[in-house]
Amino acid sequence: MMKRILSVLLLSAMAAVFCLSLASCGKNAGSTPAQGKQETLYVYNWGEYISDGFDGTVNVNKEFEKYCREELGRNVKVNYSTFSSNEDMYAKVSSGAAIYDVLIPSDYMIQRMIAEGRLRPLNMEVMENYRYISDDFKGENVYYEPQDGNTYSIPYFYGMIGVIYNSAIVEEDEEAIGSWKLMFDPETDYRGDILQFNNSRDAFGTALYYLGYDVNEATEAQWREALDLLKGQKEIVQGYVMDEIFNKMKSGSAAIAAYYAGDFLSMYEDNDDLAFFYPKEGTNSYVDAMCVPSNAYSPELAELYINFMCRPDIAFANAAYTYYASPLDLDYIETDGEYLEELAEYRAVMEEVHEDAMEILYGDMASGVPSSAYLNLSDERLTLLNDLWEELKVESSIGRGIYILCGIILAALIALAVYHIVRRRRWAKLYD
């Protein structure tokens, strides 16, 4: 009886699957009437880095599908997935564990991938929206491209790293505010409330800036000094995280963290106790840009996507969702006049989020501190960085109590084994 009911349950589960898949097939067929075969575009981007239609915002990927359907007559499906650090992205792409059409990594990673021949030059003829991009991100200003006459990447967002803290937890007169010291002071009052980056380049970056070394040209001894600093910091941090930082900072589970300026604004939206500064010792500025890997399935479609992302209405919708600084040339758009409405709307949204939003992203606050970009490191330095990162991760000072407990358990196990053997021998003798 029981088995019969089980099999009925299982059968119904299977029936549900087929209904579900049939239903979804039907739905697809309904929404895209006879427009040839479906093409899929694989996009790989940072997490929380696109307007995804949450809470009534524009869903950029859906808009692109609609654009392809209505204006190009093509049946395109965007397969969108996310990574949490450049290194994760590189691991997936270089091992070939997955193939993508559009990647959106940061500057130094683009430089490395171009050097390794993993990116293909873009066909600039289709990039008609490229004219909206500010000159700061073109030509010789693109420090991460080889300047060989080709363009490999189109900027997506740019920004700087700063320190976010919770003013309800961190004392207002804390002298370390304004400096990296807030994250590194071993005597800190905020032990267990500090979050550090969970990727090697950014984590070591914070330490090198605090020590006042050059993040690209540091000597091996300086890298090791940074490692020692990070090892010391391990005692006071709550953890190494990337995008989990959103939940932790918003809910007050952590009080101090270094992260990207745009993300500060989206956290601030939910928790207005949060405050932000760019550390006076200097910090990292970066450009994240869209590029097409050399093994892409459909580079032509990828270029259409990249161009679409530069269209000011889409770019503003995206910027108004992620709160990152857009590389569009705002002055040009103002004189051009075609997207004035969207620009005004974007400005209004940003003002509403934080009174200093535009200041933090584009203005004086950002230009007030020394900043530098990460560049691709030499192979030797990359190996060193990788080794040091392993060393930092592996290092952990666990309490002595754990060792004692462990010892007790092991001793008990051995005692048990000895007792067992002795007893068995005795029984064996008795039986003889």
Partner: protein, 271 residues
């Protein structure tokens, strides 16, 4: 003594369930917070059903579970047949121990070894690796196999061999004998193997984590991805739904079991 044991059980189960209950409760929270409750609201459930990604993941999970559990059941039943009837005993023992490997190995080693196989083969063939639906189906079928064998093999061993021999002696061809005589006897074992692999496949995260590609994301991978980024509150709604579905299934199975028992007892009493 009775009271002591009851309090002990209550305490442990309370601790075991506290986090789950918190998730269920806060999935109805009007505000997006896990520490203070701002009133009941079903908005996260609405959000969940608008989330195409979650629904696709659900669909993928179900498809994968059905395909891989069916494949594992067919392969595993045949394997149990072969192991049971193997002429050479060492052969049977070798086959059994090989089938136990994925069960004894930690999931992460199974996952890593599968990934290395796929990546390594792709390297040898000088092709781009092909992680996706097929690698997922292969991996899930493989880790389900030992569970199917484990539940079918005892049935073969308990089976009265003289029935088969009688059928064969009476001129029934072996294939027909298998379907007519042996299979009906094995059905309970096969069904429980199928159920087991179905649930294991639905639940698996670690192995899928290594052999999947973004093309084909199952529910556990979707949840992992959520918790690695900013967690949307609709995820708590999803978790709550999953918990209730599992609870419903368990209760149904349990009720069916006790009903069956009672009926059997009544039958026995009637006789």
């Amino acid at each position: 003594m009775k009271i002591l044991s009851k309090t002990y059980m209550a305490l442990i189960f309370l601790i075991l369930y506290a986090p789950i209950l918190v998730v269920i409760l806060f999935s109805f929270n009007r505000s997006g917070s896990l520490s203070h409750f701002a009133g009941f609201s079903g908005k996260w459930y609405g959000e969940l059903f608008r989330d195409g990604e979650a629904l696709t993941a659900l669909k993928n999970s179900l498809i994968l579970a059905v395909v891989s559990s069916l494949a594992a059941t067919i392969l595993g039943t045949l394997a149990a047949y072969g192991i049971d009837r193997a002429k050479r005993k060492w052969m049977a023992r070798a086959m059994e121990s090989v089938s136990n490997i994925p069960m004894m190995n930690p999931d992460i080693v199974t996952g890593v070894s599968m990934m290395l196989l796929f990546v390594g083969v792709a390297n040898v063939l000088r092709r781009e690796p092909f992680l996706g639906v097929w690698t997922m189906i292969i991996a899930h079928t493989t880790f389900n196999l030992p569970y199917v064998i484990l539940s079918v093999l005892p049935k073969f061993r308990q089976m009265d061999k003289s029935l088969t021999e009688a059928a064969l002696d009476l001129g029934c061809p072996p294939v027909k004998t298998f379907f007519r005589v042996e299979l009906p006897y094995l059905v309970p074992g096969i069904v429980s193997g199928l159920m087991m692999s179905f649930t294991l496949s639905l639940d698996d995260f670690v192995i899928s984590h290594f052999v999947s590609s973004p093309d084909f994301r199952t529910l556990p991978l979707y949840i992992y991805n959520q918790t690695a980024h900013e967690v949307k509150f609709s995820m708590y709604a999803l978790c709550t739904l999953m918990i209730f579905v599992i609870l419903g299934l368990l209760i149904a199975v349990n009720l069916a079991g006790s009903m069956g028992e009672r009926r059997q007892r009544r039958k026995a009493g009637g006789k």
